[in-house]
């Protein structure tokens, strides 16, 4: 298995010497726990208008066999430790009202499908899962809000996302979502910072290529929050957005900012049709 991976890296370098072709994702298929088949490639959404070619790919397809293996079995997936803790939080009373999540909700299963449809517009505001969780904590439980990228928050985001695992990403981009989607799209193509790099420079124009030893993916968010080996914990979408923009030597946006909500919607829409993999494992 290691030889195959080494060959494909060499091949990608050689391929680019000859012609600027995309080395691309590998051909592995993702079946979790030996039974749950994931759609890791599918037809690109129409709104992309061919910008990434015909096909969108999960980030899983760009990882080495060893990293991929960590997502094949829930026992081997370190993210599940944090999901386990979230199940405890779900049942734990917190705040002034003496309530837990379980006081109102039968169980996490009740949220099947929710993550696949987020972000979405509610009462004129673009809402992501962290907003919904902290909203319920404040209004129903009388509890302190969780920090955006805290492991308690992202554990709960992962637990709720897990209920949609295997369902296709399906965010709405028209109607009242349209202005937010347009804002996110403009951000996606803005070349930020002193390095002047947009999301598209790496994840649209150069997916499949190598930046140093990083095999660039399409930057899909269908597996978030992901267990990132680098930080050895669950990483939120907004945290990853912030990291990428910071690495362009730019002044970044804050986690939980309206800008990142809009970007979250736009990036999610680029993955419409891929399976929710939450919680995925990435490098």
């Amino acid at each position: 298995m290691k030889n195959i991976k080494a060959l494909s890296v060499t091949a990608s370098i050689m391929g680019l010497l000859a012609a600027p072709a995309v080395a691309g994702p590998d051909s592995d298929s993702l079946v979790i726990n030996g039974e749950l088949e994931m759609v890791t490639e599918t037809a690109a959404p129409e709104h992309l208008d061919g910008a990434v070619g015909d096909t969108i790919y999960s980030g899983w397809r760009f990882r080495t066999d060893e990293t991929q293996a960590l997502q094949l079995d829930d026992f081997d997936n370190p993210a599940m430790l944090t999901v386990d803790k979230a199940i405890d939080y779900f049942n734990t009373v917190d705040g002034s009202e003496g309530k837990s999540c379980a006081s109102c909700h039968e169980g996490p299963e009740e949220f099947a499908g929710l993550t696949a449809s987020l972000p979405r517009v509610e009462d004129g505001k673009l809402v992501v899962l962290e907003d919904i969780i902290n909203g319920h904590r404040a209004e129903v439980m009388g509890a302190e809000p969780w920090k955006w990228s805290g492991q308690d928050m992202q554990g709960m985001v992962a637990l709720i996302g897990l209920q949609s695992r295997g369902m296709p990403v399906d965010v709405k981009i028209d109607g009242d979502a349209a202005p937010f989607w347009e804002q996110g799209k403009e951000m996606y193509y803005t070349r930020y910072g002193q390095l002047e790099l947009s999301c598209a420079n790496c994840h649209e124009q150069n997916y499949g290529n190598m930046i140093r030893a990083d095999h660039l993916s399409q930057g899909q968010t269908n597996g978030f929050p992901v267990y990132r080996l680098k930080q050895a914990q669950l990483i939120s979408k907004h945290n990853r957005f912030r990291g990428c923009i910071r690495d362009t030597r730019a002044e970044t946006f804050a986690e939980g900012s309206d800008e990142f909500r809009a970007l979250e919607l736009y990036v999610a829409s680029r993955g419409n049709g891929l399976s929710i993999e939450t919680p995925a494992v990435r490098q």
């Binding site: 026992f75 081997d76 370190p78 386990d84 803790k85």
Partner: protein, 109 residues
């Protein structure tokens, strides 16, 4: 005790007597290496799980010494022989003196 340490073990609940079975274990733990510094430049003291043992009905399967180079959330996979019905005991020893245990019963046929 380190915050929120949670063990997970995967053991088949049934096995043929004398059969080799695969066991996987995972425990949530930062495994602070003692090599990192905080934002003020102070070394963060080492705090790891330094030993892990697996026993079945009082007999040892594996006894592991861990160093800081074991990753966050230590993972082990190994094979055990189950001579008769009984119980596995898994034990993790923390630098801070905490001991975490988990047990799993196996029925032989």
């Amino acid at each position: 005790m380190a915050d929120g340490v949670k063990p997970r073990v995967k053991v088949p609940s049934k096995a043929a007597a004398g059969e080799a079975i695969v066991i996987k274990t995972l425990i949530s733990h930062q495994m602070e290496s003692g090599q990192r510094k905080d934002s003020d430049g102070n070394v963060i003291p080492r705090s790891i799980i330094n030993r892990f043992t697996a026993d079945f009905n009082g007999q040892n399967v594996v006894d592991v010494t861990l160093e800081p180079a074991i990753s966050t959330n230590p993972y082990f996979e190994f094979e055990a022989t189950v001579p008769e019905s009984g119980e596995f005991t898994f034990t993790w020893y923390d630098d801070d003196g905490s001991v975490y245990t988990e047990t799993k019963s196996v029925e032989t046929s």
